[in-house]
């Protein structure tokens, strides 16, 4: 996918900052909170970022998702070499296997739709022990949830949407478990934020080497 190396990124949104919540996600939360305060609980706050893939076709969106799944699969693969405790090692294996299955399914689906699956970029992960592994895991899983939620409304095919839904639910489950392991609340918000393509790319850009 060409957009992964797109220059038109917004570095200041680079979002691997506050426990996986990008600045933009904070803004969305702010909007939600304001809505709650003023009693205007409506749908508009949810959709602020929900057209992540605006202008992208289903194959582009699937390739975008594939890139994120490559990232997650590689992350867990490498994390398992860190000498994790037994509970975390089990989770790293289980979650890593799931991400690899997502990679395989997305790849096959892109081919089936007549597209060309993107190749995996090379990644680099700032982690050296279980603590930094779990911290990054939370960031990646939470970002994954918001990326799929953002792309969902732009998907044209009902079938692709249903498939993306079955994946995002797994990402959300992963995120919740990682959060619990870190002593964090599993569901920090009543409504998960969505991120658009640029925001997601900005968030993962520091992890992409080539």
């Amino acid at each position: 996918m060409t957009s992964i190396t797109h220059n038109d990124l917004v570095p200041e949104l680079a979002a691997v900052e506050v426990d996986g919540i990008s600045r933009q996600a904070f803004l969305v939360r702010g909007a939600l909170a304001a809505g709650a305060v003023y009693g205007t609980t409506m749908i508009s706050p949810f959709v602020r970022n929900a057209f992540a893939a605006d202008g992208m076709g289903d194959i582009d969106i699937l390739n975008f998702a594939l890139t994120l799944e490559y990232l997650e699969a590689d992350f867990y693969r490498r994390g398992r070499k860190l000498g994790l405790s037994s509970e975390v090692a089990k989770i790293a294996k289980s979650f890593g296997d799931a991400e690899q299955q997502h990679v395989d399914a997305l790849t096959a689906t892109i081919k089936k739709l007549g597209g060309t699956p993107v190749k995996s970029p090379k990644f680099t992960f700032p982690m050296k022990d279980e603590k930094s592994f779990l911290k990054l895991a939370q960031t990646l899983e939470d970002t994954g949830v918001s990326a799929y939620n953002g792309a969902g409304p732009a998907i044209t095919s009902k079938e692709v949407l249903a498939a993306a839904g079955s994946i995002v639910q797994i990402e959300a489950r992963h995120a919740a478990v990682i959060r619990l392991l870190r002593g964090n609340v599993p569901a920090p918000d009543a409504f998960d934020a969505s991120l658009n393509t640029k925001q997601v790319l900005a968030a993962v850009k520091p992890l992409i080497r080539a």
């Binding site: 409506m42 639910q169 478990v177």
Partner: protein, 221 residues
């Protein structure tokens, strides 16, 4: 906001992928192949018919009515969840971190109720009233198991409806709730020592008929 710590139990035992939900749709099709099969007709779909567009921007009355019906279905489930947690909290069966967790989740479900009801109204519909509910709350374990059942069911219900939603805005809202229900489900599964991902790498959807049948025992009227 302080973190709610729930006791950690060994969660990720995918070998024991027991489905404690008896949702239908649980045919033994391998998830990945189901994924592909589901995408089988998409090539044609993507390039041609607008009829199968998931997030069509057309706002015909039929589309709006369809979305209102889906939202009211979701609202019924959210009412039940909110009610469930209110009763759990009142029962005093949960203590400490678990009670805090129930309060937090209950508060979230109430926010879902409010948001969905407001959305139905905004679309010109009438939000369904809360059903009268009853839940067998007998012990801590019964409560936690029922909570897990309800949350896993809720996640599967949203997943089952996502592709039928016409308005991108409504879809975005539903997705933002769907993943929260999934988080709740995974946390409760973990708390109970069950796999947080009982369906494996691809979550299964539940049909409306199956979901309504599953919650029927909890509805008095």
């Amino acid at each position: 906001m302080p973190d709610t710590r729930t006791p950690n139990t060994i969660p990720s035992d995918d070998a024991s992928r027991r489905r404690f939900l008896t949702l239908a749709g649980g045919g033994g099709v391998a998830a990945a192949s189901a994924f592909l099969a589901a995408c089988g007709s998409s090539k044609k779909t993507a390039s041609t018919t607008a009829a199968s567009t998931a997030a069509s921007t057309t706002t015909t009355k039929a589309n709006v009515d369809g979305d209102i019906a889906i939202l009211n279905y979701a609202l019924t489930l959210e009412h039940l969840e909110a009610d469930f947690y209110a009763k759990v909290i009142a029962s005093g069966l949960l203590k400490g971190a678990e009670q805090d967790f129930a309060k937090r989740v209950g508060d979230t479900e109430r926010q879902h109720v409010e948001a969905i009801a407001a959305t139905v109204t905004k679309l010109g519909g009438t939000p369904v009233a809360a059903p009268k509910s009853k839940f067998p709350l007998e012990s801590r374990l019964a409560v936690l198991n029922l909570a897990a059942t309800v949350e896993n069911l809720g996640a599967a219900a949203y997943l089952g409806k996502a592709a039928e939603i016409k308005s991108p805005e409504v879809l975005a809202a539903a997705l933002s709730i769907h993943s929260v229900e999934a988080r709740h489900a995974a946390a409760l599964n973990k708390l109970l020592g069950k796999s947080p991902t009982p369906d494996g790498a691809f979550a299964k959807a539940a049909t409306e008929a199956d979901v309504l049948a599953a919650v029927k025992p909890f509805i008095v009227s």
